[in-house]
Amino acid sequence: MEASSASEQPVLLIDDDEELGELLSRFLRKEGFAIEVVADGVNGLTRARDSQHSAVILDVMMPGMNGFDLLRELRKSSNVPVIMLTARGQDIDRIVGLEMGADDYLGKPFNPRELAARLRAIQRRLRVQAAGAPDARPLLRVGDIELNPRARLVKRAGDQLALTSIEFALLEILMRAAGQVVSREELSTQGLGRRLSYSDRSIDVHVSNLRKKLGLYPAGGERIKTVRGFGYQYAGP
């Protein structure tokens, strides 16, 4: 599947609130997005698997199929960027969702312009990924980790790792700046495509997930170090 067309694919909205769906699609279309709305989880999952989307907006508070279950199922076969719509004030929802592989979250009620901005950030990222010229994006290698930006593959000592697109993006940023500290703000702007907001922990959750997937160096050292109050650094073996 051509990555270049991914950013042009429609956005899939899975939310049981049909009126909201209708309002949102009108709004997003005006903002220049193609959008498809599905009002229940089961159908939504089918649509997400059956066809290509540039992003999936998923309401985790739907009756019937649990939004998290849907996310888990979806992640088995697809790396499509997912924005969760969570209950406002439910931090657990947010963290659990991010750990399960969602790329971002918005608490309901949310500002639709914010949603549009995040969707645009996702599309930007997809376009950047697709457009990379071979020599401009060389293979990144630090220690036993090899990151192939074009093929969007990460290998540890030859074994392929399954990363979400956000995790991949963050790892690429960190590895490119290996040995130097990257601020959380920078990670957010480049990796998530948006500015970090007040008490926003999503970068930390994504990095934590990334750490878990990468594991420690064979000698026992940490691959990604935390710099308190500032950001993260990819460390050599």
């Binding site: 609130d17 009126e19 909201l20 309002l23 949102l24 009108r26 709004f27 005006k30 209950a87 406002r88 004030g89 439910q90 931090d91 657990i92 608490g107 309901k108 009620p109 949310f110 500002n111 639709p112 312009r113 007040y198 008490s199 934590s208 750490r211 878990k212 940490e222 990604i224 170090k225 935390t226 710099v227 308190r228 109050g229 650094q233």
Partner: protein, 479 residues
């Protein structure tokens, strides 16, 4: 205050002791004669029994039977001297004349006789065949005064025994009764502390008495309260959830209006947006509040967390956000304070206080955040003080600002935003962690909100926090 235990114990003990003393007194006031008689009667039976025993044994021997009997029966502990006397025997040196005469008379009459003296009583019994013609005379001495008092069969000794036994029994009774009451007390204390799942009945089920009945009634009361509170919580939560959907639609509709609209309406759009924002915030905070109330009962397991780091992050973020409006948040924090808790809840609690302070901080001023380690009643405590240069709060309201929706002044709150629930959330959250939050006015203006959180087993929490941090893949410092 005299405890119930003490009263039960002492009154029963005194009662039984008095009863014993009463009996003892009655006994004591019996005539000396009858007492002596009672004592004698006791020994008489023993004497008779011994005689018959020995009679049976006499079959073995041949000569000097009476002497042998005499020796066999002599028992210095019981102060019995026994002589065997034959009919017509000449007076013997070792036998008192009285005894001998008595023996002669008994043999003559063929029946047991006794002669009671002042200090000594003689008791003569003719022996049966094959020893007819002989009589046994026993000499019973009145026991000495010392023996009278400390012997096992004396009144003072018995009194002592009674005192001891009744003491033990009464102690046991009083203990059991008051222990059951103590269990009930503990149960109701737990209820009062917020654990609505605490039940006392099962602990007192072993005995079916008034105490267990009381416990049963208390449990029913607890269930009722639990149900009522639970229903209230659920209502609040459901209402807030329900409010979300229309609000979400409202927000999108507003943006659609903006998209379509002309410039002239944008002021109204902005106001609608602001109010919608406020609504959304309020809903979120109410839900957090209800969640916190539920937390007390749900009893999620706390983790070890680095409180210093949490405060630092909140302060930094707040400072970043405050800069555009020309205000600062300055942190003076003691590092390395670790405690057990729920980091998301504590973060929210600290955030709300800082946000509140920022709301009232005038432009060009700074909100100061101070974190120190202190000691309260010997227990280590983390103390966080957030201070602003705002107008402060009237003294009478310093406690009430932690109630939900309390407003010092309607107008002021509206202007500076805020839903009125933030500090209530802080209060609940801090209370959940066993801490306290108070507010006071600073001497030179502004409000100081102080949070105190217990640092539980510093060593344990520290080690656990480090282990937890390493597990999360974080390093504590970077060289």
């Amino acid at each position: 205050m005299r405890s119930l235990f003490f009263r039960i114990f002492v009154s029963f003990w005194i009662a039984t002791t008095l009863i014993s003393i009463g009996f003892g007194a009655i006994y004591a006031f019996q005539s000396t004669e009858s007492r002596w008689q009672a004592w004698q009667a006791l020994h008489e039976d023993a004497f008779r029994a011994r005689v018959h025993d020995d009679e049976r044994r006499l079959g073995d021997s041949s000569t000097d039977v009476p002497e042998r009997i005499a020796h066999a029966l002599a028992n210095p502990e019981q102060l019995l001297m026994v002589f065997a006397i034959e009919a017509g025997e000449l007076p013997r040196a070792d036998v008192p004349r009285v005894a001998q005469n008595l023996a002669e008379r008994a043999l003559a009459e063929g029946a047991p006789l006794e002669e009671r003296g002042d200090k000594i009583t003689y008791f003569a019994e003719p022996l049966a065949p094959p020893f007819e013609g002989s009589a046994l005379v026993a000499e019973l001495r009145r026991p000495s005064t010392l023996h009278w008092y400390i012997g096992p069969d004396t009144l003072p000794f018995r009194l002592l025994v009674v005192l001891a036994v009744s003491g033990i029994v009464c102690y046991g009774l009083a203990r059991q009764l008051t222990r059951r009451l103590q269990t009930i007390r503990e149960g109701s204390r737990r209820l009062a502390a917020g654990d609505l799942s605490a039940r006392i009945g099962p602990q007192l089920r072993d005995l079916d008495d008034e105490a267990s009945a009381l416990a049963h009634d208390l449990d029913q009361m607890a269930e009722r309260i639990d149900a009522l509170l639970g229903a209230q919580q659920r209502l609040l939560r459901d209402v807030s959830h329900e409010l979300r959907s229309p609000l979400a639609r409202l927000t999108v509709a507003l943006e659609l209006a903006r998209q379509e609209g002309e410039g002239g309406l944008s002021e109204y759009h902005d106001r609608i947006a602001r109010e919608a924002d406020l609504l959304g915030q309020l809903i979120g905070e109410i839900l957090t509040l209800t969640r916190l109330e539920g937390e007390a009962n749900a009893q999620r397991q706390p983790d070890a967390l680095d409180f210093s780091e949490l405060v630092r992050q909140v302060a930094m973020d707040a400072d970043f956000e405050a800069r555009p409006s020309r205000r600062r948040v300055l942190l003076d924090g003691r590092a390395g304070i670790e405690l057990l808790g729920h980091s998301d809840i504590l973060r929210r609690a600290v955030e709300n206080v800082v946000r509140n302070a920022l709301r009232f901080a005038p432009a060009e001023s700074a909100v100061s955040v101070r974190l120190t380690r202190a000691s309260v009643e010997g227990q280590p405590v983390a103390r966080l003080e957030v201070r602003d240069q705002g107008p402060g709060v009237p003294e009478t309201f310093l406690k009430e600002i932690f109630q939900p929706f309390f407003r010092v002044s309607q107008a002021r709150e509206r202007r500076s935003g805020g839903s009125g629930v933030g500090l209530a959330i802080t209060e609940r959250a801090v209370r959940l962690h066993g801490g306290s939050v108070t507010a006071r006015n600073a001497d030179d203006g502004g409000l100081i909100v102080a949070i105190a959180l217990p640092i539980s087993t510093a060593a344990g929490a520290g080690a656990a926090a480090r282990a937890a941090a390493l597990q999360r893949g974080e390093e504590l410092t970077l060289v």
